[in-house]
């Protein structure tokens, strides 16, 4: 039987990981390298890494980081952020991504999604949908990092994205993001029942039980970001919980992996200390 997947979502900004609440970035939580090393040994099933920087100049830094990060990730790595063209997709793949996640660009440019899917296979293209509740039982897709309402329902867009060649839907509730109140059960249920491709639930996990709720509502995989930071063995403990609930997951054990040596620190961040200059 196919296992339910536990996914850690890492938001990268200017060299650090950050936390997010209702799509506003809050605090920096440390290095992506540490997170990837720990989560890999702590039984995570997959990692999603998104470049959320607003600084054009730092996009290249993300590419350099990705090359190093992918060397220490022995579970599937899905990468996204500012992906607009086939070349953007290809670049992430050559830097070590296994799948690429797209949002606004796929919504605005259907031909791009369909061409990327043809070129790299539909399993490679993950469509991220950010949805906001607008009335009881009704939702709307918002693009541009949640800021532009589109008037389209997430069910309709998910179905269309599937036809255009999406291999998975990464579904985030804007209202629940960072709330710690759990996923939006109705939203997950609606979209999972509309499409034949896997749906990954995102947004709002505050306790391990919320992962089980996401699966009960039809999600193939469950993801979280904030809750995994700051605590020892976080992803393994989440896995323990799901395993004890009788949910079919990969075993919550420590996984032994050969981590390459860490590269030297980025020159810009420590050169002052190293040289003693001010």
């Amino acid at each position: 039987m196919l296992k339910h997947r536990l996914i850690a979502c890492l938001l990268w900004r200017d060299g650090f990981l950050i936390q997010s609440k209702n799509f506003k970035h809050t605090n920096a939580v440390g290095s992506a390298m540490t997170a990837i090393d720990f989560f890999n040994t702590w039984a995570i099933d997959e990692i999603v890494l998104i470049d959320v920087t607003r600084k054009q100049d730092n996009r290249e830094m993300f590419h350099r980081d990705l090359v190093e990060l992918s060397k220490r990730c022995f579970v599937p790595l899905t990468v996204g952020g500012w992906v607009h063209t086939i070349d953007d997709v290809r670049r992430f793949l050559t830097e070590g991504a296994d799948k690429v996640i797209v949002n606004t660009s796929a919504f605005r440019d259907h031909a791009f999604l369909s061409a990327a899917s043809k070129r790299f296979g539909n399993q490679c293209m993950v469509v991220s949908i950010d949805a906001k509740r607008i009335a009881p039982h009704r939702y709307e897709v918002c693009i541009d990092r949640g800021s532009t309402p589109t008037g389209v329902s997430p069910e309709a867009w998910a179905k269309e994205a599937e036809q255009l060649g999406a291999g998975e839907i990464f579904l985030t509730s804007i209202d629940n993001d960072g709330s710690q109140n759990g996923y939006d059960a109705e939203l997950i249920h609606l979209v999972s029942n509309t499409v034949g491709i896997p749906v990954i639930a995102s947004g709002g996990v505050g306790e391990w039980k919320h992962f089980a709720d996401g699966i009960a509502n039809g999600a193939s995989a469950v993801s979280a970001a904030n809750i995994f930071h700051y605590s020892d063995q976080s992803t393994k403990k989440a896995k323990n919980y799901l395993f004890e609930q009788g949910i079919d997951v990969r075993r919550p054990e420590f996984y032994d992996i050969p981590l390459p040596r860490r590269p030297v620190y980025r020159e810009s961040s420590v050169s002052g200390i190293m040289t003693g200059s001010v």
Binding site: S70, V75, P76, D98, N122, Q123, C124, P258
Partner: protein, 212 residues
């Protein structure tokens, strides 16, 4: 040195990362002379069968692969598309001819029953049916990462090459072995400890093969 065949598709870097993590010397290449020098050949890849085969032809790789693997019996590990290419015909993206090293076809997987999604994406139990050098040291009932919509179907005469299977509302051929030709539908490079064990076994197989 192991050659990872670069035909412009798939997560080649991930495969190189995993092998380098195991201290293997690898080269990503589409150069025939590098493939000729290698102790073993790895053909990874995700993507569509038709386009993949077209690329192998475009880069002139079909002949060198046949020469090295079939004639000179160099160890081969196919991953995902690298398993599917071994069939004689694929039906993804129209009908196209594969390498034809095994008697089988590649068709869309059609799970029976509710709740089975396609692509077959995620971690699944693999039932090992036959001993294979690449499975040495694995625990019983290992779990590997899969991501594919099409699968290999074999002619009954070839059934004996199946070394493991997975279940997803239908039987998925998870791996095959025909002498020195190994192939997995799952992704060892992304299957953490279990997957790294498979790759490590293949590296050892290539070493001992080269010395023999």
């Amino acid at each position: 040195m192991l050659a990872i065949v670069d035909y412009g598709m798939g997560n080649l870097k991930s495969v190189a990362n995993a092998l380098e993590g195991l201290s293997a010397e690898v080269t990503l290449t589409r150069d025939s002379s590098v493939i000729e020098q290698a102790e073993g050949i790895i053909l990874p890849g995700v993507g569509a069968f038709g386009e993949g085969m077209r690329n192998l032809h475009t880069f002139g790789l079909v002949d060198v692969l046949r020469r090295e693997v079939i004639e000179k019996k160099k160890p081969y590990l196919g991953i995902c598309l690298g398993l599917q290419f071994l069939a004689h015909t694929g039906y993804e993206d129209g009908e196209s001819r594969g390498l034809g090293w095994v008697n089988g076809t590649v068709k869309l997987i059609e799970p029976k029953g509710d709740g089975y999604k396609v692509p077959h994406m995620g971690w699944n139990n693999v039932k090992i049916l036959k001993k294979s050098e690449i499975f040495a040291g694995l625990k019983d009932d290992p779990v590997f990462y899969f991501v594919h919509s099409y699968g290999l179907e074999l002619d009954p005469s070839e059934e004996s090459i199946v070394t493991s299977v997975a279940e997803h509302g239908c039987r998925i051929i998870a791996s095959i072995q025909k002498g020195h030709i190994f192939a997995t539908q799952f992704h060892p490079e992304k299957s953490q400890s279990a997957g790294l064990m498979v790759l490590k076994n293949f590296i050892s197989y290539c070493k001992s093969h080269a010395q023999a």
